[in-house]
């Protein structure tokens, strides 16, 4: 469970985040949307304690964020940053890094068992010995998602995980993420630019604009007016087979 209570973040006299209060339960996928510079990544970094909040409180699994040390948080939260400059290593070793919070000196047989299991689930076994530098963008992103999942955390933070991917890969990654969130009862926060994907996969949506919380709640309650005002363009929503579709 993740909860924030009036979170504010001020950097160099500039209010980056203002009064963000949200609550997310296990099994929920929360899409964080908003225009560029709205504070989406900053909010995720704050939830992961990479940035210190100016005021307010963040609770992770019913405990204040500042009461955890980084090692404990790495077991609770898997965080996939927006940009990743891949480093030469095999797919297997790359995914094995996800076990790092659980490895003291060397990985155990159990660690290897878990990474082979996730590779099978995500159909990555055929790439096992391949250098990650030789993977396509979609394959690499899937490997990084596998790495986040093998961390066995309760919470998943994905910062724009489908940027620069083609539609097939976008859907594949979103499907896997949604499936794992439900299967493992995770709380998943995912920063997205594609509003259609947000409506398709998320249970709740957090809409930020200039650091302000413009909307937080079930996606069904997000209206055209709120979206249009936040993005500064006319946005229409139509219902297509029970799913909201965004037209602009």
């Amino acid at each position: 469970m993740v909860e924030t209570d009036s979170v504010n973040f001020i950097l160099k006299n500039k209010q980056i985040l203002k009064d963000i209060t949200i609550q997310a339960q296990n099994g929920e996928t929360i899409a964080i949307i908003g225009p560029n510079g709205a504070g989406k990544t900053t909010f995720l970094k704050m939830l992961r304690a990479f940035l210190s909040l100016t005021s307010g409180n963040i609770y992770i699994v019913n405990k204040l964020l500042e009461e955890y040390d980084n090692k404990e948080l790495s077991k609770l939260i898997a965080y996939l940053p927006q940009t990743t400059k891949a480093v030469a290593c095999s797919v297997e070793d790359c995914i094995l890094l996800g076990r790092k919070p659980h490895i003291k000196y060397f990985p155990s047989a159990e660690d290897y068992k878990k990474i082979h299991q996730i590779m099978e689930e995500l159909h990555l076994t055929k790439f096992q010995g391949k250098n990650v530098l030789n993977l396509s963008g979609g394959e690499l992103q899937k490997v990084l998602i596998a790495r986040s999942l093998v961390q066995e955390s309760n919470i998943l933070f994905l910062d724009e995980p489908i940027n620069h991917l083609d539609i097939k890969n976008q859907l594949e990654i979103m499907d896997v993420t949604k499936e794992m969130t439900l299967q493992r009862d995770l709380v998943t926060f995912i920063v997205l630019h594609d509003l259609n994907l947000a409506f398709k996969y998320a249970d709740k949506i957090l809409l930020l604009q200039n650091g302000h919380n413009k909307f937080y709640g079930n996606k069904e309650n997000l209206t055209e007016d709120i979206l249009s005002n936040s993005y500064g363009v006319k946005i229409n929503l139509i219902n297509f087979n029970g799913v909201q579709k965004v037209i602009y």
Binding site: A88, L97, Y105, P107
Partner: protein
């Protein structure tokens, strides 16, 4: 796996070949059978036994130990700073040692002191060691600046190197001809400087360094992905960076203090390993770079002894001459593969 078997087989044969040639070649040459007889029974030929056990073998082992320790230091620095240019040279550690040695030679004179078990240690060695440590402490100080990037740290190293170079030149300007000659000669890097105790000490430091990198190997595997990735995977970035810089500094300091400045080994060995083995864990990169560095310096020292025989060229000069084209070749290969 196949590449690994090939690599270790070639390296083993190369090492054996160098050992045999090192034992045989020199100012006084003997047949193989005489050399092996003397090795097994030192009473059979006392002068040859002295030549082997007190000159050729220690120098060969010194070459291996110094090459291994410098390569390990370079590999650690390259990984922790995520910069292929990081080495004891580019971070100013060698220049710090050169300043310390020059200071001892020119200001303190060539006295000796005794510290604990070590009797009659030359002040030049102490000065060089302290010089390297001081410059590494400066680098460490810079590394503690919040949000300093690895590139920033390399630039700080370049500035520290320039400072120590200027300070050394100032000292040399005020020195006598003899002092100047001694100070300049010290910087050449020469493997005949050390004896068994010094070699043993370098090996002990090397072992310590290897234990460190094996224990923290997974942290290194993680940190090369960037600080955000490493932090989210639970790595204590600051502690790893500080310990790694400290270990790399100590490794360089001990080798440089006893044997002078020997450049390029620390830079090249990890590059060659990463070129041959594209996707290996850091445990392997550190170990293989170290062994390769040792054998590379053994070969370089053999060449240094033989190239202008009977004059023995200081190995530091030779590593620079062979290292530069080799480094440029590696650089071009990396650029051609799209990885720089």
């Amino acid at each position: 796996m196949e590449v690994q078997i090939k690599f270790w087989t070639i390296l083993t044969f190369l090492a054996l070949f160098i050992v045999v040639l090192t034992l045989k070649l020199g100012y006084m040459e003997h047949s193989f059978s005489t050399i092996f007889q003397t090795l097994l029974n030192s009473d059979s030929n006392e002068s040859l036994s002295y030549l082997l056990w007190e000159l050729r073998i220690p120098r060969m082992l010194a070459a291996f130990a110094v090459g291994a320790i410098l390569a390990l230091s370079g590999a650690i620095l390259q990984s922790i700073l995520r910069n292929p240019l990081a080495s004891p040279f580019t971070l100013g550690l060698s220049q710090g040692a050169a300043f310390g040695a020059s200071f001892s030679i020119i200001v303190l004179g060539s006295a000796t002191i005794s510290i604990g078990f070590f009797q009659d240690i030359s002040l030049v060695v102490v000065g060089a060691f302290l010089g390297a440590i001081v410059s590494s402490l400066l680098v460490l100080g810079f590394s503690m600046i919040k949000n300093i990037s690895s590139e920033g740290l390399i630039l700080a190293g370049v500035a520290i190197a320039a400072f120590f170079n200027a300070a050394t030149m100032l000292l040399q300007y005020f020195s006598t001809d003899n002092q100047l000659a001694t100070a300049v000669f010290w910087t050449f890097g020469d493997l005949s400087k050390g004896k068994w105790t010094e070699i043993l000490l370098v090996f002990i430091f090397w072992l310590g360094g290897m234990i460190f990198v094996f224990i923290r190997g997974w942290d290194f595997n993680t940190i090369v992905w960037g600080e955000t990735h490493a932090k989210s995977l639970g790595v204590k970035i600051w502690s790893l960076r500080i310990y790694a810089l400290l270990v790399a500094s100590l490794l360089t300091a001990i080798a440089t203090a006893f044997f002078g400045i020997i450049g390029f080994v620390g830079l090249i060995a990890p590059h060659i390993i990463k070129l041959i083995f594209e996707n290996q864990k850091h445990h392997f990169i550190f170990f293989a770079s170290s062994i390769l560095g040792g054998i590379f310096l053994m070969a370089a020292d053999l060449l240094a002894k033989e190239i202008l025989s009977p004059i023995s060229v200081p190995v530091g000069i030779l590593t620079a001459f062979t290292g530069v084209p080799l480094f440029l070749f590696i650089l071009i290969r990396r650029v051609m593969r799209g990885r720089n």
